[in-house]
């Protein structure tokens, strides 16, 4: 039995993509239209941590940066197997782009102290950048492997993972401390049991604000002030207007016309 590993899972609360509504005039997302859930890819990150815990023993800390309401997602993470949870919430964190988000998360991880492995989802469904994981790794100064599809083996001081890049599969040995981002293929997240759900209601969620790690961080890099990128404009793409020609009944004619379309698109060789 190896000593218990310390694993940190980074997860974000996002609106349920299947239900969320858009205001097509302003291009804004109506966050009140849908329930907030754990980013689906981050469920895979959490499940990966739980599977490691079951195999070799680990203490899992879930960390999320977001509004106070993100506490619900951290509670869900505890129901799904996290041992403790930290919410980073502060007005000064608001409006962060990926750089400021990663910086803040990295400071929080430093504050937690010793860790062996940080696990992130491949990407979030709202930010959709896949940047936060690698940026956190750089801020922490640790190596990372992205797009991990399989965890082959976990040892006390290293992990063996499979990732696809370019046209190849790579089996990579990553020494601790390190970071991985996982794809949806890495596992199938389990649903929490009713018992675990009830238990998680009473769990304590640690809440940190910008002052909680002021010894480790430079406040100028937090939130909107620390974000080099800004959204100048949001709009609904007009490319969605499709020709929409419908053929009914005469399939012979439809086949002829569509074959012509294919020829004009230069795909008939």
């Amino acid at each position: 039995m190896i000593n218990q590993l310390n694993i940190i899972v980074l997860l974000k609360q996002v609106p349920d993509i299947e239900k969320v509504k858009f205001d097509f005039k302003t291009g804004r997302i109506d966050r009140s239209s849908a329930e907030a859930v754990i980013n689906p890819f981050d469920l895979n990150a959490l499940e990966a941590a739980v599977e490691i815990k079951e195999k070799v023993g680990a203490r899992i800390t879930a960390i999320s940066m977001g509004p106070k309401t993100a506490e619900a997602s951290l509670r869900d993470a505890i129901a799904r197997g996290a041992d403790n949870a930290i919410l980073l919430t502060d007005k000064r964190f608001a409006g962060a782009d990926t750089l400021a988000t990663s910086y803040t998360l990295a400071c929080a991880i430093r504050k937690v102290g010793s860790y062996d492995l940080v696990i992130c989802g491949e990407k979030t469904i709202d930010g959709d950048t896949a940047q936060v994981g690698p940026e956190v790794a750089e801020f922490l100064g640790v190596p990372h492997v992205a797009y991990v599809e399989e965890i082959r083996e976990v040892k006390r001081d290293r992990i063996l993972v499979k990732s696809k890049m370019g046209r190849n599969y790579y089996i990579i040995e990553l020494k601790f401390p390190g970071l991985i981002t996982v794809t949806k293929d890495v596992n199938t997240p389990r649903l929490p049991s009713l018992k675990d759900k009830i238990r998680s209601r009473k769990a304590e969620i640690t809440v940190w604000n910008a002052d909680s790690f002021s010894d480790l961080a430079d406040e100028r890099y937090f939130g909107a002030a620390g974000s080099p990128t800004t959204v100048a404009k949001v709009y609904v793409p007009k490319a969605e207007r499709r020709k929409g020609k419908i053929f009914r009944g005469d399939l012979e004619r439809a086949a002829k016309e569509i074959a012509t379309v294919l020829r004009e698109a230069h795909v008939i060789r």
């Binding site: 750089l99 950048t129 790794a137 499709r242 020609k245 074959a259 012509t260 698109a265």
Partner: protein, 331 residues
Amino acid sequence: MKRHGDVLVFAENNDGKVHPVSYELLGKGRELADSLGVDLNAVLLGWRMEDEAFELIYRGADKVFLYDHPSLEEFDVIRYTRNIVKMVRETKPDIFLVGATRIGRTLAPRIAAALRTGLTADCVDLKLDEEGNLVQVRPAFSGNIMAQIVTKTRPQMATVRYKVMKMPERDAGREGEIIRTKVDVIEETGMRIVEKTRADEVEIAEADVIVSGGRGLKRPEDFSLLEELASLLGGVVGSSRPLVDAGWISKDHQVGFSGNTVKPRVYIACGISGSPQHLFGMRDSDIIIAVNKDPTAPIFNVSDYGVVGDLYEFIPLLIREVKRLIGGGQE
């Protein structure tokens, strides 16, 4: 007038060859550099990559910073980051473009964090505003909205999706400079490749034509019908998720939220209803053609051409017509 720094493109090395997305970025980069009145440079890391460095010049680069060393033969994010960060600090480009491939998206964020600069993911368009700032256009929220992003730090970094920018012409007469740069050799990075195997999967994300089947197919064998059409069009077969889950076809064929995002010139959806999760993966295709028995199927809302009918009747007719056109036969 404000002096601008150069435009830099990361030339991605895939098994000793430059990935085509890097050439596309040189095409776009050339336009940007010319508008700004600056040079277009490329940075290439690998081992024995001299010939490829010339290719970058033929595709529009003025200078190629070549890092040629055995330790760079395989992609190692730490080695690549350290060498590129140093080069960027010395040459101070204004704009730095990276292909939004898995390698690019693994590498670019580390470089951006090290330089403490902004990075915009997965752009589909790039332009300059009046002051010469880079306006980065990217889809957000599964493509429902588009966002224009500007960066106040330098370099302005972006990863750019493959196959959205035009491939520049190759001009073997073009001249440029290859700058062999001293490599910082980093022995221990905390990572080691233990095994490398070639993935013999369909590269569905790169296909020009995709003929996809959904639950409208009755038997796994019927994929052969779609395969016949796909191969006539130089394309590949795709699938909705239920058929992958049922084991009818392998996962690398799956299109959608939990599968591949594709953007072919032509996408033909056969017996697919058009769920939001499926649309997520293919709605950016140039031309969408749908065949479905149900006239109310949502797939018709995003289609350029919709055929209301039985795919088992229609696809053979289409195959016949396509063959006729290949034969060059008039009527």
